[in-house]
């Protein structure tokens, strides 16, 4: 990077650094110091239910991860090995599904499943699989594409049957990608919140749900904090362990040129490809369609009442649910607008700063990622119990919810812009410098203009994240200030009523908005001509779009 004056770099990063310190580090420290004491630790750890929740959290995450990886390998193979009409659309569909807000995904699966499967652990596992399919397909598919088909054929000529080829050659070579995908999926399913809230039976609780339940239903703030910390510690250990494992098993795999996907030639290939593509598309489209259908299915038959009468949540004359779906829509739009503005502004400053300041930049980059690794519920909870005393009583400030959203969205803006910044810089600003421009000016005139498009992508990501955020918002939103996901969760709990149909109507709106944003991201990203740089980090960036 062209050297910028140190003072300017400092000025650039002061906002992101301060934001991170105030909105993340401080609440986090408060959570640990204030709420956790011997008494609360003893009562949480001494309760057998705690351990059964830890156990449930773990096994459902392990099973969800295994299922998602195994099921995902099939479409990943088709996408890596075959070139067919709709290949890109299929990838886009899966990605859109992944970015869907958890609550919407929960709603979609609820809409799709027969009543006998509603609110069972099978529904939860199914939702987790459909949700995360894109992680496997994208992460593994990309690596598999680079694995020459000839290598698998070579094994076949040495006498290996197809399954043996997969076990002995393919799997070991795509294993780093499989492991990376598994780690992401495990993180998501271990901290699953929205899906469980919407789809789980009352007793189905992950640690994340239990944190929320203790804090908001039983009023046991201290015990909730201990649980949040327990979850963080478990995740921390798992992260260290998986990093060790990855290091031990890492092998220098030279990146080969792309093994070009082939059009399916034989009838057998064509059948296999169309069956797999078709069923994958079905898995992706069915839940979304079910949302629309359920929004039209009211207790009094097929009707658009849920849509035309969306603004009312009357249960009986005079008695309402105390929440207005149209207000929730307005709240969501407003929150999203501010969160996007915050995240984009702070993210832009941060990536400029990170690119300019080498070592300190890397530290800031890593620091900004922390909120993603922390569960959303913990973030919201920490903010709520920290900003509760004057002059820092910010609980009812209009900006607290957008700021919470921005906290998780900033890393995505940074990821979107940083790559472009770094690739643009060396050639162009050097060229400008040889033409005699001062560093600052060269930088401003050459580097900054390249920021707009990646910033637009980052903004779209931030918007998608904010629109769907549920965990932190369920702590931070106040009555009357509910966002769409909160309203959807409340409406869906009203089984068999018009209110439930309204919940599905809201979920349809939210799904449509999210899918639109994904299309924007895809288009803008492509136009930017950085599709290669993009694909590697795409999953990473999509990763949090659904908290």
């Amino acid at each position: 990077m062209n050297r910028l004056p140190g003072g300017l770099v400092g000025a650039l990063v002061i906002v992101p650094v301060a934001g991170l310190a105030i909105l993340y580090a401080w609440p986090f420290a408060t959570l640990v110091i204030e709420a956790v004491d011997k008494e609360s630790i003893r009562s949480v750890l001494g309760r057998s239910r705690t351990w059964s929740i830890v156990w449930f959290t773990t096994w459902q995450a392990v099973v969800s991860t295994l299922l998602t990886v195994i099921v995902g390998l099939v479409p990943a193979w088709v996408i890596a090995r075959f070139d067919f009409a709709g290949r890109r659309i299929l990838l886009g569909l899966l990605t859109a599904l992944f970015v869907l807000p958890t609550v919407v995904m929960g709603a979609a699966i609820l809409a799709l499943l027969p009543d006998t499967l509603d609110r069972t652990v099978w529904a939860v596992l199914g939702a987790h699989v459909v949700f995360n399919l894109a992680v496997t397909v994208r992460a593994v598919g990309t690596v598999w594409e680079h694995l020459p088909a000839d290598m698998e054929d070579a094994a076949a000529t040495l006498g290996a049957a197809p399954l043996v080829v997969f076990r002995e050659i393919t799997l070991p070579l795509i294993r780093p990608a499989v492991a990376a995908a598994a780690a992401i999926i495990f993180l998501f399913t271990f901290t699953s919140f929205g899906v469980i809230r919407v789809l789980g039976a009352p007793g189905t609780r992950t640690i994340e749900v239990e944190v929320w339940r203790r804090a908001t239903q039983l009023g046991q703030v201290d015990q909730a904090a201990v649980l949040a910390l327990l979850q963080l510690i478990i995740l921390g250990f798992l992260a260290i362990w998986s990093a060790r494992l990855a290091r031990r098993h890492s092998r220098a795999l030279e990146l080969r040129p792309l093994a070009r996907p082939q059009k399916p030639r034989t009838r057998r290939d064509k059948t296999v490809v169309s069956i797999i593509t078709g069923s994958t598309a079905l898995v992706a489209i069915a839940p979304l369609t079910a949302l629309v259908i359920k929004s039209l299915s009211t207790p009094s038959g097929w009707s658009v009442t849920a849509w035309t009468d969306l603004g009312s949540t009357e249960i009986r004359p005079g008695i309402t649910l105390g929440l207005n779906p149209l207000d929730a829509l307005a709240n969501s739009l407003q929150t999203t607008a501010w969160a996007t503005l915050f995240a984009t502004g702070v993210g832009a400053l941060a990536s400029l700063g990170i690119a300019a300041a080498r070592r300190a930049g890397r530290a800031l980059d890593a620091g900004l990622l922390l909120p993603i690794g922390t569960s959303a519920v913990t973030i919201g909870f920490g903010m709520l119990i920290t900003f509760d005393t004057a002059p820092y009583d910010w609980r009812s400030e209009w900006w607290i919810v957008p700021a919470g959203h921005a906290l998780v969205a900033v890393p995505f803006v940074v990821r979107s812009t940083l790559g472009v910044l770094r690739s643009v810089d060396p050639q162009l600003s050097l060229a400008a410098a040889t033409l005699g421009a001062a560093p600052t000016r060269a930088w401003r005139e050459v580097v900054v203009p390249h920021l707009w498009r990646p910033l637009a992508v980052g903004a779209a990501f931030a918007a998608a994240i904010s629109l769907g955020e549920f965990g932190a918002t369920s702590f931070l939103s106040r009555s009357g200030g509910e966002t769409l996901p909160i309203a959807i969760e409340q409406l869906l709990a009203r089984t068999g009523s018009l209110l439930q149909a309204k919940g599905y109507a809201l979920a349809t709106i939210l799904a449509a908005a999210t899918v639109t944003l994904v299309i924007v991201i895809d288009r803008t990203g492509d136009l930017a001509g950085h599709s290669k740089a993009r694909s590697g980090t795409l999953d990473e960036r999509h990763a949090d779009a659904r908290r």
Binding site: M151, D153, A155, A156, T157, A161, I169, R265
Partner: protein, 216 residues
């Protein structure tokens, strides 16, 4: 060991509407080494893959020792194949690469390590079994690929531009080694190359692809 005899009749393959092979017929008798010449992109490699069972022909029949194997999957055809870029398995050691075919044939561990070690010695790589294949030089990798294919004693060996892209000195050395190895094993071999001299040096007979097309 007696090499297989191979009979291809009326093999046609098209990709996406473009005809790559048009009714190709060819007979190779037992122990014969045949070089298949032709311009690059002319379908030679495709034909080799049809024989190997990697690509299914749109029409035509592949017979090995008189048996129709057109629908037999690759791993049951009892053939060996050397790829242009070797396709060594990067996650396995050199020795394990060579021993892979023996493992597939369910040869016991100690026995297959002994045989693989012998083959490594035979191609001049004695004691290099524990090396990572990613660290081998071009010539070493090629020799490992040959050993890996020949260790199973296939009765038909398919070679897809095996010596392309090597420097001249190494190329000439390997031409000699390959010729000797094929003679010594007695296997039938089908060699695809665009190099006339190489074909002449290694093969008993040279066939041009355009000579054997459309031969109905």
């Amino acid at each position: 060991m007696r090499g297989a005899d191979v009979e291809l009749s009326g093999i046609s393959v098209s990709f996406d509407g473009t005809t790559v092979l048009d009714h190709v017929s060819l007979s190779v008798t037992t122990g014969e080494v045949v070089a298949l010449l032709g311009p690059s992109g002319g379908g030679k490699s495709t034909l080799l893959r049809v024989v190997a069972g990697i690509i299914a022909p749109d029409s035509g029949i592949v017979r090995i020792d008189g048996v129709d194997v057109t629908r037999t999957p690759t791993h049951r055809r009892g053939i060996g194949m050397v790829f242009q870029d070797n396709q060594l398995f990067p996650h396995r050691s050199t020795l394990d690469n060579v021993a892979f075919g023996l493992k597939m044939a369910r040869v016991g561990r100690t026995e297959r390590q002994r045989q693989a070690g012998d083959w490594l010695a035979r191609v001049g790589l004695d004691g290099m079994g524990s090396r990572k294949v990613t660290e081998l030089s071009g010539g070493e990798a090629k020799r490992v690929a040959l050993a890996r294919t020949l260790v199973n004693e296939p009765r038909l060996v398919l070679l897809d531009e095996p010596l392309t892209g090597l420097d001249l000195k190494l190329h000439n050395k390997l031409v000699d080694e390959l010729t000797d190895l094929l003679r010594a094993t007695g296997a039938t071999a089908l060699l695809v190359t665009h190099d006339v001299d190489e074909a002449a040096a290694i093969a008993d007979r040279t066939v041009r692809l355009d000579e054997i097309q459309n031969a109905r």
